[in-house]
Amino acid sequence: MSEELSDEEILSLFRKEESRHYAFNMLVRKYQRRLYSTVRRMVTDPDETKDVLQNTFIKAWNGLDRFREDSQLFSWLYRIAHNESITHLNKMKRGLFTNDALVLDRLTTTLDNSEHFSGDAILKKLQKAVMRLPTKQRAVFNMKYFDEMKYEEMSAVTGTSVGALKASYHIATKKIENWITAPDQTK
């Protein structure tokens, strides 16, 4: 990446018709890595991650004219990616896979078979434990544990109160601790 424009520069260029596509290209280049990690942790499969990320940026393109600069551009993009990931997982439930257990089975199978996972056994165990969480609790855990977001930011993304997010994260960490320390977990 040779140069990285500030959010203000990107938005300013985006408002001009002649530099609109260039500005958007810069936006994608700037945030694709961070958003990819966010989506991948939720969706797991690399091809599905790509689809969700494409949808995220297309929605960003459609809505960037209406973006209010009083919020952070990344937080806004993160919120779109979060919503798209949840929508994707819900579609998965409604479609071929009809309940949480089958979705979990599919996600863990994808993880086991994926050549795109470099973690050791304990990291794989951690990922499987995270996958066992309900979808929204998983998103909360990922935001706090991996992305180290503040609760206020998480509240802006999810539309959930700070108190509820703290409670959700607390429960999630307890569940995961119990899972990864349990002696006999075959899956």
């Binding site: 596509h21 958007f24 290209n25 994608v28 280049r29 694709q32 890595r33 990819y36 990690s37 991948r40 942790r41 690399p46 790509k50 990320l53 494409q54 940026f57 297309i58 393109w61 050549e115 795109h116 996972f117 470099s118 973690g119 304990i122 990291l123 794989k124 951690l126 990922q127 706090k144 544990y145 991996f146 180290e148 503040k150 607390h170 960490t173 307890k174 995961i176 601790e177 990864i180 320390t181």
Partner: protein, 154 residues
């Protein structure tokens, strides 16, 4: 400060989780981030180009039924009522003095106009004979009809 408190809390609540490295274990396919911006750009351009046509069709799909409903409503409001109004014609009967002043031709027209419409079913077998006065007199003579009786008969 908040972060430290949260870290301490996590360490106390979930020590094994706290001790794990936070490295992202997911490997990104080779060259993904080089290709991805171009792929998104292609999708965006394709959608931008297809939008006007799509918008036109979508607007027409909404507008045409609305126009049909409005036109139907206007037609419904403006159409003729179901029961037609019958024109009231006031007939003023002639006085005796007026009747006395009519000549024979006028009297004949008046009688013909005031006669009730012939029953169509009754006319099915009737023959319209065009007879002159002599022929009529010959017919009556042949039938032995009493002219006086015919004239005074109501």
């Amino acid at each position: 400060m908040e972060h430290l408190n949260e870290a301490d809390e996590l360490k106390r609540r979930a020590p094994v989780l706290f001790g794990l490295p936070k490295a992202d274990p997911f490997v990104v396919p080779d060259g993904f981030f080089d290709r991805f911006p171009h792929e998104v750009q292609v999708l965006v351009v394709a959608r931008t180009n297809s939008r006007p046509t799509w918008n036109l069709w979508r607007r027409m799909a909404i507008a045409l039924p609305a126009i049909a409903i409005i036109a139907g409503g206007i037609w419904w409001m403006q159409r003729a009522p179901l029961t037609p109004t019958i024109a009231q014609v006031e007939v003023t009967p002639l006085t005796n003095a007026e009747l006395d002043n009519l000549d024979d031709a006028e009297m004949r027209v008046l009688v013909e106009e005031s006669a009730p419409a012939p029953d169509a079913s009754a006319d099915l077998g009737a023959v319209d004979l065009q007879l002159n006065d002599d022929e009529v007199l010959a017919y009556l003579d042949n039938e032995h009809a009493d002219l006086t009786e015919l004239i005074t008969q109501e």
